[in-house]
């Protein structure tokens, strides 16, 4: 019979929470993808040893409070404007690792101009884009990435292209711009997917070190609260409906 003290020795450690994650209790719903991606960003910053050089820009949306969870310097931006705020920071601090963390409403709707032009200028920043096809914070309204037929608070009969237009593949659009060096779409629904997503985020931050331009990492995620599903059902629904429209993998890597 071994004591707990014998088990919790450093040499037995197989997993630990990155110290980049604070001890604040996350406000995210159980099953939400944000928590996982926060952890990945924290781990990458830790592994690259750039805590003292990383500056994050949080959006308006569910991840507005991202600054409570990652132990680095942060600016909180107006809705959609994170890429412009990051531009200001990066231009004045060209040696720093500047990244934005944005949702689909923030990035692809109200902030469409800012993300387009930051990518077009090739700002030396990383963009983490969480696409869960819905406005989570405000209570589950239609996002630009909401799928056709998808029910939301503002498309109660399902998204109808005649009324609401089509879902927007913003990531493919951004890959067309000369300023982006790395554009990829990942998910975080399985251990394998999480590992891939982390590698993508790491590569993006390494690109900043190499001053290659804008690196854009989309993570297709779930919003089981907004979708009104259990976390397990939400993952299944995502795989069956989101992945065909938003296929995973690198779109651009130069």
């Amino acid at each position: 019979m071994s004591h707990i003290q014998d088990i919790t020795k450093p040499e037995h450690l197989v997993y630990r929470k990155t110290p980049l994650l604070t001890d604040n209790i996350m406000h995210y719903c159980p099953g939400c993808t944000h928590g996982v991606v926060h952890k990945l960003v924290g781990e990458v910053i830790e592994e690259l040893n750039i805590q003292d050089q990383a500056i994050g820009v949080s959006p308006v949306g569910c991840s507005v409070l991202a600054y409570n969870y990652l132990d680095i310097d942060w600016a909180q931006a107006a809705h959609g404007r994170a890429p412009a705020v990051a531009t200001g920071i990066s231009r004045l601090h060209p040696e720093k690792y500047v990244f934005t963390y944005q949702g689909d409403g923030d990035l692809a709707s109200i902030g469409c101009a800012e993300i387009m032009h930051a990518c077009s200028r090739g700002e030396n920043i990383v963009v983490i884009f969480i696409n869960n096809a819905i406005y989570g914070m405000t209570g589950g309204q239609m996002a630009p990435t909401t799928l056709l037929g998808q029910v939301t608070a503002t498309t109660p009969y399902g998204r109808d292209p005649k009324l609401n237009g089509f879902p927007m593949k913003i990531t493919e659009l951004l890959a067309q711009l000369d300023g982006t060096c790395y554009v990829t779409r990942q998910s975080a629904d399985t251990p394998g997917a999480v590992r891939k997503a982390k590698n993508a985020i790491k590569k993006a931050f390494q690109n900043t070190r190499l001053r290659k331009g804008t690196s854009f990492v989309e993570i297709v995620g779930t919003c089981n609260s907004g979708w009104k599903m259990t976390p397990v059902d939400a993952n299944t629904w995502m795989r069956e409906n989101m992945f065909p429209k938003y296929p995973l993998g690198d779109i651009k890597d130069i």
Partner: protein
């Protein structure tokens, strides 16, 4: 040099770290001059043409969050677009300089000079209880001087400052003595001045967070009270104004910026006709020189607020005068500039002279 060109030159000379802008008449010369001067080669100052006014002010927000001396400039419709960013800057207590070369409104309006954005500049402009520190230059020389002063006040109070100019002062040329060069702040200086809040990378300290968000309304009330205390301090310490020929005046014109220049001539014309007219020129529009006007009200028979607007500053003058004497407004609208003779006629008819 043109007033707008002087703004650019003064920015470089005062050690400004960055300018983010978007072209709009009548202030495009500011960014054009900067791009031609290439300060990034000379002082390291960053100059960037943004995709919109909205982006420009948010770039200012990001750069200001780093404790850097940064600025933007625009004209009325562009300033309206910038209001979102300006209220965020005020809410996050970030220092910066915004130059507004006002043109006639509302809407797209005209490109000619106006003073119809006094309310927008002095009463907040965006949402929430906040103020900008507002300086009103009346000469090209003051366009130069107020860039440095604006930054000084902005950093002293961690609050956005605005230079409220207009198409007259922006487009006119007159003699100007440019300020001597000041070096940009070093990393050590920024650490000393703004280290407790600026984003410089977390090292050997708690993380710095620049935000205007506070979900707890009691916390937000507390923050608002702190802001209000700051504004009371600014009102007590930073009022600036000029009195011209007020000592023996029976009547006083109250005017700022280009109208103040026009009114100087009106005062001269009036005195040639034996009318004892003076001019009171607010230099800071926020904080407004309320006390000085209250004092003046006890000595004169009436005041005329002269603005190229339908009458905005006149409300502040009336509050200061508090019914002691008659206060009227005169001004041409929509981009029409009143001439000194017109102001004199307007004054005479307002007071039945």
């Amino acid at each position: 040099m043109k007033g707008n060109e002087v703004i650019a030159e003064a920015a470089i000379r005062c050690g400004c770290d960055g300018y983010f802008g978007y072209p709009i008449t009548p202030q495009s010369e500011v960014m054009e001059t900067l791009m031609l001067r290439k300060p990034w080669e000379e002082t390291g100052m960053v100059v960037l043409q943004a995709e919109s006014e909205v982006a420009a002010i948010n770039m200012v927000y990001g750069a200001a969050a780093c404790g850097k001396k940064v600025m933007t400039s625009s004209s009325s419709p562009g300033i309206s677009l910038k209001q979102e960013g300006i209220t965020y800057l005020a809410g996050a207590e970030l220092p910066c300089l915004v130059v507004d070369v006002v043109r006639g409104g509302p809407g797209l309006g005209t490109i000619q000079p106006a003073q119809s954005d006094y309310f927008q500049a002095t009463k907040g402009g965006g949402h929430g209880d906040y103020h900008l520190i507002v300086l009103a230059p009346a000469s090209v020389q003051e366009m130069n001087d107020f860039v440095d002063l604006g930054f000084e006040l902005a950093f002293k109070y961690r609050n956005p400052a605005m230079i409220l100019s207009d198409g007259v002062i922006g487009q006119m040329m007159e003699k100007v003595e440019l300020s001597p060069y000041k070096p940009r702040w070093t990393d050590e200086e920024i650490e000393k001045i703004s280290g407790s809040w600026a984003l410089r990378g977390k090292k050997n300290r708690k993380r710095n967070i620049v935000t205007s968000l506070e979900l707890d309304s009691y916390g937000q009330e507390k923050f608002n009270l702190k802001l209000q205390a700051k504004y009371r301090e600014i009102e007590a310490k930073e009022v600036r104004y000029e009195e011209i020929a007020c000592e023996d005046a029976d009547y006083v014109l109250v005017a700022y910026g280009s109208s103040a220049r026009i009114c100087q001539k009106t005062v001269k014309l009036a005195r040639e006709q034996g009318i004892k007219l003076g001019l009171f020129r607010p230099i800071t529009l926020y904080p407004f020189p309320t006390e000085a006007i209250t004092k003046l009200a006890g000595r004169v028979k009436g005041m005329l607020s002269v603005e190229m607007s339908a009458g905005q500053m006149v409300y502040d003058v009336r509050l200061a005068v508090n019914g002691k004497v008659k206060v009227e407004h005169y001004g041409r609208l929509g981009g029409v500039i009143h001439a000194p003779e017109e102001v004199l006629e307007g004054f005479k008819s307002a007071f039945g002279l």
